[in-house]
């Protein structure tokens, strides 16, 4: 058995549990319990229109109330979900439904789009890869004149969005907050591509390894990759449905201009669906092929010794035969060969005939290959 890395098993355990943490059964809906591993919340505010750009980091609850009215497009970003009271306060300020706030805190939601009165609530999952795929949650509330976004971890790609707002006046600031929502979604979805590319490279590496020397370690690795791909597929499919809902949404929060870009986003998701399905199919085939190669290898290992043993079997028998101690002095019938002049060469010849005869038989049956061919391999 190959040496399966125990760290991998731990990672797998971690991975699967992420679905299940929830508030206690029987609690009233809207009960808020922060994840004990969540990070301290920091609030960022960006306010912009074509003519101006204003930003402030690390806001307190009061500052939010003050700055709320300011600017045409208000983006409040909460990074870290440990401080439930701040999140609740912000939610209350902007008329967020209690179920939406609950979904922000319980970061095990599947990607979805929910329409409340004059508000759209979006959940997407940000992928990352470190000893197995992880999918963190980004929640977005798009309302009239404001956009709230909540996430637990710092993500390098999402931080680039603020720079784009700052510098891209024509391309960005002249569009509304729906374009900002699109940008956030698009950035997250684009970050699935390098993840799937990495998985694809792993599959290639495994494919080569399987061909060269199939073993059970590879079976476990392919199995783990398959589990990761199943997780990714689930997220990608749900996200595709979510973007579809956004495109079909008939509230006035999303303009036709943005919908063309969302259609592009949907197209990327269709591509992701293609890639993830292809990789899943390849992983499944590879698992099977790996098993086939392992048994082919094993057959190879078993065949040669078995044939060697078979060739020596009659030779040993002949040797044993002439090792018998029948008393030649009693009668001429008892092992006269032992007394022959060429008895020993005769017995050696008999063995040679047996052995070579079997070799030829095995060669004719194609059970063994002539040595030349063997050397070439």
């Amino acid at each position: 058995m190959g040496a399966i890395n125990p760290r991998h098993i731990v990672a797998a355990r971690d991975l699967r549990k992420r679905y299940c943490r929830r508030t206690q059964v029987g609690a009233s809906p809207g009960t808020l319990v922060a994840d004990p591993k969540a990070q301290v919340s920091t609030v960022y505010l960006v306010s912009y229109d074509t003519s101006q750009f204003f930003e402030k980091n690390d806001l307190s609850a009061e500052e939010i109330s003050v700055l709320k009215g300011r600017g045409k497009n208000l983006w409040i970003e909460v990074v870290g979900l440990a401080n439930v009271t701040i999140i609740q306060h912000i939610g209350a300020q902007f008329g967020m439904h209690s179920l939406a706030i609950e979904d922000v805190i319980n970061t095990h939601q599947r990607p979805k789009m929910e329409a409340y009165d004059h508000q759209i609530f979006i959940v997407i999952r940000i992928p990352s890869m470190a000893s197995g795929v992880k999918l963190r949650q980004l929640s977005i509330l798009l309302g009239n004149g404001f956009l709230l976004s909540f996430r637990d971890d710092v993500d390098e790609y999402l931080n680039l969005v603020r720079d784009r707002i700052r510098w891209e006046i024509e391309e960005f600031r002249q569009h509304g907050l729906d374009y900002l929502a699109y940008t956030l979604i698009d950035t997250v979805i684009d970050s699935y591509f390098p993840i799937l590319e990495a998985v694809g490279e792993d599959l290639e590496r495994l494919e080569e390894a399987v061909i060269l020397h199939a073993n059970d370690e590879q079976i476990y690795e392919i199995y783990r990759l398959r589990c990761d791909l199943l997780d990714l597929r689930r997220a990608i499919y749900a996200q595709r449905d979510m973007v579809k809902s956004l495109i079909n949404d008939d509230s006035r929060l999303i303009t036709d201009y943005t919908k063309i870009f969302l259609r592009d986003c949907y197209d990327h998701l269709a591509q992701l669906v293609d890639i993830v399905d292809a990789e899943l199919e390849i992983a499944s085939s590879l698992l099977e092929v790996c098993h086939f190669f392992m048994s082919a290898r094993m057959n190879d290992v078993m065949k040669t010794p078995t044939l060697i043993a078979t060739i020596f079997m009659p030779l040993s028998f002949i040797a044993s035969l002439y090792g018998m101690n029948f008393d030649r002095s009693v009668s001429a019938w008892n092992m006269p060969e032992l007394g022959w002049r060429y008895g020993y060469p005769f017995s050696l010849g008999l063995m040679a005939v047996c052995g070579i005869g079997m070799l030829i038989y095995f060669l004719c049956k194609h059970w063994i290959k002539p040595p030349k061919v063997k050397r070439r391999r």
Copy 2:
């Protein structure tokens, strides 16, 4: 063969039979035959609105008739389904269809939502886990001003609902009976999460066990888990359809306010669908991987002895050869080696050359690994 626990087999037998008990073929619809294992019925009554809360336990049939008109929202809970007459009496009091009463008694219904005139009849299944998954039935009849609920077992989570009615005036008592129905459904659905989490932990445990030492006991355990998951999936899918029907229901029994909460409930069911499907896929893969690991292990066990036997085969042959009794006195051709001065060392050397030669051949073929590597494993 591993030692399969016979208790498990009995549990499995129990499990599968739960589908099939029904009234006799050919009986007229609406025939009521209590399950011989059903518990004695106890009737609880709760009546509430924003201003008042009234409750009474262990009601007799007459008391129900008296208390029927009282209060705005009337909840009658029947725990234990043995007393068919009481259930029939209650059903008659509230104009319940005979088929609905039959479904209450025959606790093998699949989750469903059925609209009768001015009434909604709901069946959901409460999961529990003890040597295999069990799914008990909760039947709800939501009418104008009353809600009847029927179940056979005491469930700890459902008992919490009455407390919530008693104490949560703002959050609960100001809403109608549709909100109570939602609360019951939500409580049941939330209780699927710990069950699936337990199954997930079993799968993790099995995954580790398979990697360390794959055997046929694990195959049976995974097979049993798969059967359990198939049962759970069936219930979850049917429940999702049922909640969908409730959301789309256009009778006036369910308010828009409650429908937002039912949508949240639907979302939880979508999450459950994701989890149960993922676990099923993992279980199927694991079954296959377990088989692959078992045959890999077996190959490992068979390979080394076979190679050892192959190495000793020619050595034994040489030893047998020089054990032959040809009469050296007859001619110089008969086994002259026996009379050589270094005949014995020569034969030992011949054996050593054979044995080491084969070892090197096997090492070159990668059929055996050098001892260093073996020790590291």
Copy 3:
């Protein structure tokens, strides 16, 4: 190889052929050829309304013409499909379409519901179990004021329906013929439950047998059960579609009152779908598990002998070694061990060291278990 019962094979052959008997290719539609195995036709007549009940058995063709106008609800039941002319005569009397008459005679129709002008033609299949599942055909024609039913075999459950008409005035006779059609359908569908229960018990029995002693007889049995389940599933799915069509039918032949009962019937079919799908999934898993257990058992059988052989290999070699006949008189180099004082004990010790060393190696590798554990098994 296990002893496969040849009677089973014959049963299987019978089973699969039932699909294919049809009138000759190229014949005009409506050509009537009775099945050579069909039974002699007997015609029963029941006429009823709330106030009266009239029945007559073994009618001739003329009597039907006479009795046709009599009574509000007329039910003519034909048991045995050999007499094509009688069936044709009855069909003509009630304006039955030629294709419907053809479907009555050719009892290989799949369950279906077909609407003709003012008539509904229904085909359902009655299950029975005797060395494999059999599905016989029941054809129903529901018209205005009459219901014709045709079947080949006597079915005990269907005979109960006439008793219900006779005795249940309130519950039965006050409803129209659509309720009678429902009763016939419901009775047939209910008879699927015991069949599936029997299959479930077979599966349980096989599951236990597989765990205790997997062999190829079980593989064949599971394979046959799977074939039976596939047949049942096909019939159940088609019947579900058929009942769905009846519920959605907008002719006036089926009242809303009956449709509620048909919905209950649909519900039973949904349950049957659940059960048959579950049993199919279990059968498929079991087939795989049985194969896995067989190879696990085989591995077990092969492992111990191989290890025993491996342990004796070097021992035999040592014994052969000292069986060589090198001439000790020629030189001191030739097998001095033979002349040692403790040569024999030394050689025995050498063998013991070899044998025990290999045993320990195998134990460390977990290839064999210490004898204690073995005894517990």
Copy 4:
């Protein structure tokens, strides 16, 4: 390895290529290239209404122009597709679209129904069975007052249709050409039943063979049957869609009277779908079962020799032991057994104890069965 018939392989090669022959890539649509294997075209004409019947065989292109206006219902049948110009001429006469003519010539179309202005173009595939399933094309153009049909081979069933027109005045000639189209379609579809029945019989034969003596020849046969069934399924499904389209067609070319018959035809196709799906599922299961039986058989073959070898291993060891040549004259320690009075019987007894002990161990482990049971098999 079994002796796979090389003729089968050739048949398979033939079979699969039939999809792919087409006009050159880049050619303009409507380019007509006759299949080099096509037969010489013969044109038949039938013209009929209730009062008259006229037929003429082997028409030339001019005669068609002349006879075109004659009779109410004109059926022109072209058998053999080699003469492209005649087909083109007929097509031009009746205003056939160039794409439809191309589809007539390229006989690799899938079954389909295409509506052109005032014309319906139908493609169906006629099955035949000779060392693998073959599906030949029948193209039908139904227009106002004419029906053109094109096929390459003579089909015995289709020739019967003309006889029916000639003799069945009431049943046939009083209906329009849509009824003729239905008759042609129905005749073709009915000819699938004997084919599937033959495949079913092959499956039964293989099932019996697998149970008696599973080998790799059967695997290949099942694999080939599965390929045939996949081809048939594809044709049947496409034909079902085609008949569905005809039933839903709202051009006036098909009367309601004929649509009832087409519905019957659709029903037959649904039956065919059931049969072909059932047979495919049985073939897939059988392939798996055959593999399982083969490995069960192999295990059986390997088990007994392995156990025999294991029993003889220690016996041979004991024999070798007392064949050692230690010098008994040197010390009393050297093989004193050889000098015992009952040394030889003692050694034989030792061997007997070893051998019988192992036999009993194997019997207890159920690795071998007592000889009685073996004989029964």
Copy 5:
């Protein structure tokens, strides 16, 4: 293990990476980065109507602006996608959306049809086969009075289209640019047929090879073919949806005349779907069959030696037995056989009886076949 060609592995690596190259995550949509492997762009212009035909190769950006107004139907073809500025310039000239231009440059789009205002943007993939399937992108923008097409490679089939425009006045030049778009699509789709035919031939070749001598090289080849087929299937399915969208398009850019041809194109895609699905099913079956045949072969190889070894086992035992050195001089009990007159012939006879007995037993069990049958194979 067979000798897997390492060049194949490299090809596979190349193949799978084609999905994933994209602009950097977080970049604004519409960012244009040319593929470093793209070819230098060359611009071709064709302008035609019924009366005239004008063509110019290797245009510069300015010439495009000048020639833009000229002619009724303007087709600008860009071959080679390295010069982003030229493509951007052309796009700007014709009012192409920035997302469409991005899709032209990033040649990893899936086949799709996107409607912009007064423009239709189409992506299709051109298949080619050289050590694995490659799918290159062809982008088409159909606007009012112009058609732009972009592709990276020279394709022989597409070059034929310009010749058709030049020479086919009636058939081609009298139709609009939508017919040109159809022609391009049809040409690409027709080029899938020879590719699938080649894959089908590979499958046939592999099928024969598997039957004659199943080995692991074939497993790898079938696995690679399956991967190729999955790629092709994905492209074909997406293209079918795309053509469907074009047929259902209600902009005025596509005439009803062209839609009939597109329907033909859709039909070809349906045929391709049939072929690719059939080939995938065959490839999957073949993989399984190959594994079955390999294990059947292996069984064959293992069976004979095992049986030979089993036959020699008791013979060797007897020989060893009479090689024991018990001292016959001590007592008459010690190996009296050695002193028998016919001791040696007796022992030889014993061996013969043993050996022939076992042979007969094996023959009766059908474990070995009589030599005659063996020779025939």
